[in-house]
Symmetry: C2
Subunit: 590 residues, 2 copies
């Protein structure tokens, strides 16, 4: 037996296997995941595992290594989040998200920090030795809303798209802020005196870390898209490039002390569109599937490790401090409490929302506000950051407080948020995908609004969106896409996708026919063309031609003016109905 | 800049990126890969990289770590090979493959070892200090035909299926033999005296290592298949299990000093059938795609590292020894040369083939024999094994000889084998997939032969295949498959696959129809059924019913006796023709 030789890969594989089997186990009992979020169950499994290890070895189980977390477990989850981020709602609410992520987080950090410093002044608690700076350092890490935990819970409760993107986008983008604040306070802790120059440098760093991350991400994303132009002959390694470039992008950003999370999201969102057009359909399935799989495994491992790491003797249980931390960080209510209940209902979120609502037509309701505040779960990011703290005599207290906050938010908030959403009757996500008709109307309105903005001289989001689209089709696509001369509109792509899906369904039920085809087309032609010409249209070349015209017209809808025509789109009545109508019509004509 | 922090993953990612970009580069010039095998080009890139590193650092570039090779790079390639191994030709030729792998390899090891010992006795070469045991140890590693190199070359030249499986199967299965011989001679080298008991124990070890590997592999394979029964609700981690179980299987086998390669092949071949039936179509695409991608990257990295490791000062250039090693190991001709050209044409392969041909109806032609002998490429396995040798004063000579043999076989044999195959007019692989008709005939003959063997009391391969099939459907499928009550024959599956493919093609050209369907069915019915009934068959339930009957009948073809009916299968005439015929017929009837 030669265990030493294979130990490292063997143990890694076993952990992943355990995580996957735990996942299967939960899903065998269908009722369990609908009551308790998976993250809680996984932490519970981790606690049991940690207990077993602790019992057997009689020493604390190994703590999750911060390097392993930040270098190997976090990137797949963030990549998955960025790649599948619905870009339209994200960019529509980018202002609100940034406001919450930047102003809200800073607010929280200082709110929690000063409040805890206040608590430390109470002599009964024996905490006078914790300085303000240490409190701020601690609050900077405890204020970081964790995208992994948020995603794990919000994926299961299906709130409406806007609310989801607000909570989730904030949890992703606040990384840049918390990283800066954390590093700033950490270096302040080690400095003998702090000058005002240092503070200004800290403020400047925000922009460097955030915008630098975006730039690194976009650079790698564009390179990835450019690379996939040349993979036509070796389809098999296409999916690799998506993963390689995003990972390199994350590592590069981390190397330059920029925000890796922001970078990988920019990279994924930037490359998605071009990569998707360049790579084959099967490659794309692999990319999507593998990304989901990988992030799911990382996610599972993180929660199990969280549970395992909780057990042990790393903690100092000063209950007043811990309890007040939980209370202060209970979602984003810190400001509310900081102002010592003077403003009672105006928490950080509420004040911010007031400003947001003033400048937006689409207001955020008070229910939504509550869910945003309540959805601020903490997770493995705080946990890893607290272990990275420089050694000082109260580190174990901070570790204990962080552990309790994480367990509290994941268990209590995570488990009660679903009943709360039900209770408040928060608007849910619509079950069905938008119909083609809706999509056309949305697109039509976009163009209309861009035109109105153009005429009124107001440079709003539609104006910029239109300019970006123009730049994209004029320059970017020509460089990045392999077949740039056939820009297909998303509606045509959707139509193709639906047709493909339908074809597979037909094949599976054995209804596939080789006879008269393309009902939407037949439907358009049947009023104008005689019977014989109908059969001519079966010629694939002609059909392709028509489809291309269709694609071009849809795409250039704004540029060519009144080319919009309701006959150039597939109808929305039931396809089976179509087929029957055609049959009846043909019988009659014969 | 904090490079230290991200160094390990950053450098790994960069190496993989380099490998992938090199692959893209070769394929940009279409003519290059058709002349030079990719493996040669990759080694060449590695040599350049090694030269650059050597030039910049002025010391030998890092050598490929044996642990990295055996634990991380080799398993994906072997898994891919095992998973996509065509099981029918493999089992049909298993006897021949085993004969080549076991007897042929032992023959080669002793042939090369004794010949080299003979060379060492020539005083002019200054090699008298290399003992017989050291020569045998060296020959045991240099005789290992490398599946990675063989696969890389033979995938490009498309020889006929049987020849391919013989060369490739031998290169995979000889791992068990070379591992045993290598470890045997290594321990003999360290022992003061060798008793006959040790030799017998060595012979016994063959069976333990080989059969143990198969058992470990099958155990893990069955467990994997069983696990995928329960993944219905979490499709997203299905592909993971295939990889996790195969890797665990490899590591477990290595841990117990069994043959990891044999284990992973048994695991992959064992689980494939059941896993494929259990997991979803998209999961399966991901598994296949990712396996190919991973093995392709490993492959690329191995050849690049081979090139990099070649540069440096690890070598002792005793040219006579090296040249004779190349000559002796030039394919499997060692025996021929060992017998000092007495038997001139009877190389090891030829003698073995003589025996094989006596007991087989399907003889191996002399051309095939030559290609088998010539296709014995050496690669990274030899290279890793030679670095694992215990330190002794002639190790550098062995390293030099191994490097030269590898470069010689990969470059000279790899580049000339394609022209040779053309020159000898070796039977090539047929371009088209077997038609449905052929498949039916093959299956029919299988049943016929099983029946004949049954009656004549001869327990041949068909008898055992039939018994295995019975055991499989009676017990294994019920345990391992989720929906075991619908065993579909491979022909029905093929038909479904073709229909699905056709449907996608139709959808892509826009010819998808919702009208009268399933031409094969219409074709069958049109002689018997009147027009109205034809339209009734459009009902999906009825169709499903018919398909199920079709599936069952095909499956139980042998058990139900004369149920074989040429009308129950899709015809082979052109589908468009069908559609036209149907149209004409309907026009007439109206």
């Amino acid at each position: 037996l030669d265990y030493q030789h294979v130990q490292v890969p063997f143990e890694i594989t076993l952990w992943i296997m355990l995580a996957s089997l735990a996942k299967i186990g939960f899903h065998l009992y269908n009722k369990l995941p609908s009551v308790v979020p998976e993250s809680c169950l996984l932490i519970f499994v981790g606690l049991i595992m940690g207990g077993i290890i602790y019992g057997l070895n009689d020493k604390s189980p190994p703590v999750m290594d911060s390097d392993i977390f930040f270098l190997y477990l976090l990137p797949p989850i963030v990549l998955d989040a960025g790649y599948f981020m619905p870009s339209r709602p994200f960019f529509e609410n980018i202002g609100t998200i940034l406001l919450y992520a930047v102003v809200g987080t800073i607010w929280n950090v200082f709110g929690i920090g000063f409040s805890l410093y206040g608590i430390c002044q109470v002599t009964a608690f024996h905490l006078q030795d914790v300085s303000l700076l240490h409190n701020l350092l601690f609050s900077s890490l405890i204020a970081a809303v964790d995208p992994v935990a948020v995603l794990a819970v919000f994926e299961e409760i299906h709130v409406n798209e806007k609310l989801h993107i607000l909570v989730f986008g904030e949890s992703l983008l606040n990384d840049a802020v918390t990283v800066v604040l954390y590093k700033l306070f950490r270096s302040f802790c080690e400095m003998p005196t702090i000058t005002s120059v240092d503070v200004f440098a800290g403020v400047g760093k925000f922009f460097v870390v955030g915008i630098g991350g975006v730039l690194v991400g976009l650079t790698f994303g564009m390179t990835a898209a450019f690379t996939t132009r040349f993979t036509k002959d070796i389809r098999v390694i296409e999916p690799l490039f998506v993963f390689l470039y995003s990972y390199l992008c994350y590592l590069t950003a981390e190397m330059f002390h920029l925000s890796g999370i922001v970078a990988i999201i920019a990279c994924a969102m930037g490359m998605k569109r071009y990569v998707e057009a360049n790579i084959s359909l099967k490659s794309h399935t692999t990319v999507k599937y593998f990304m989901k799989m990988w992030s799911s495994v990382s996610d599972t491992l993180i929660f199990i490790f969280l549970g395992v790491s909780t057990i042990g003797e790393n903690h100092e249980w000063n209950w007043p401090y811990i309890c007040f931390t939980v209370i202060f960080s209970l979602s984003n209510f810190s400001f509310c409490l900081m102002c010592s209940c003077l403003l009672s209902c105006f928490s950080g979120v509420l004040v911010l929302t007031f400003f947001v609502n003033r400048f937006h037509v689409n207001t955020i309701t008070s229910k939504d506000q509550f869910i945003i505040a309540y959805g601020g779960l903490r997770g493995a990011i705080c946990f890893s950051l607290v272990f990275l703290l420089p050694d000082f005599h109260r580190k174990k207290l901070f570790i204990a407080a962080t552990t309790v906050v994480i367990l509290f938010t994941v268990f209590v908030q995570g488990m009660t948020i679903r009943p709360l959403v039900d209770l408040l009757a928060v608007k849910r996500k619509r079950e069905s995908a938008p119909t083609v008709g809706e999509q056309i109307h949305i697109r039509f309105l976009d163009h209309l609004l861009a035109g109105i903005e153009d005429i009124s001289g107001h440079w709003g989001q539609y104006y910029w969106k239109d300019k970006l689209e123009y730049f994209n089709s004029k320059y970017l696509q020509k460089i990045l896409l392999r077949e740039y001369d056939q820009p297909k509109s998303s509606i045509v792509l959707l139509h193709e996708k639906l047709e493909r899906k339908h074809a597979i369904e037909l094949a599976e039920t054995g209804q596939l026919g080789h006879g008269p085809s393309h009902p939407s087309l037949l439907n358009n032609d049947r009023t104008a063309l005689p019977e014989k010409k109908l059969e001519d249209t079966l010629n694939p070349d002609v059909l392709e031609n028509i489809q291309e015209i269709l694609a071009r017209n849809l795409y250039r809808i704004r540029r060519t003016g009144p080319a919009y025509n309701r006959h150039t789109l597939p109808g929305e009545t039931e396809p089976v109905e179509h087929a029957k109508e055609i049959l009846i019509l043909r019988h009659k004509s014969l």
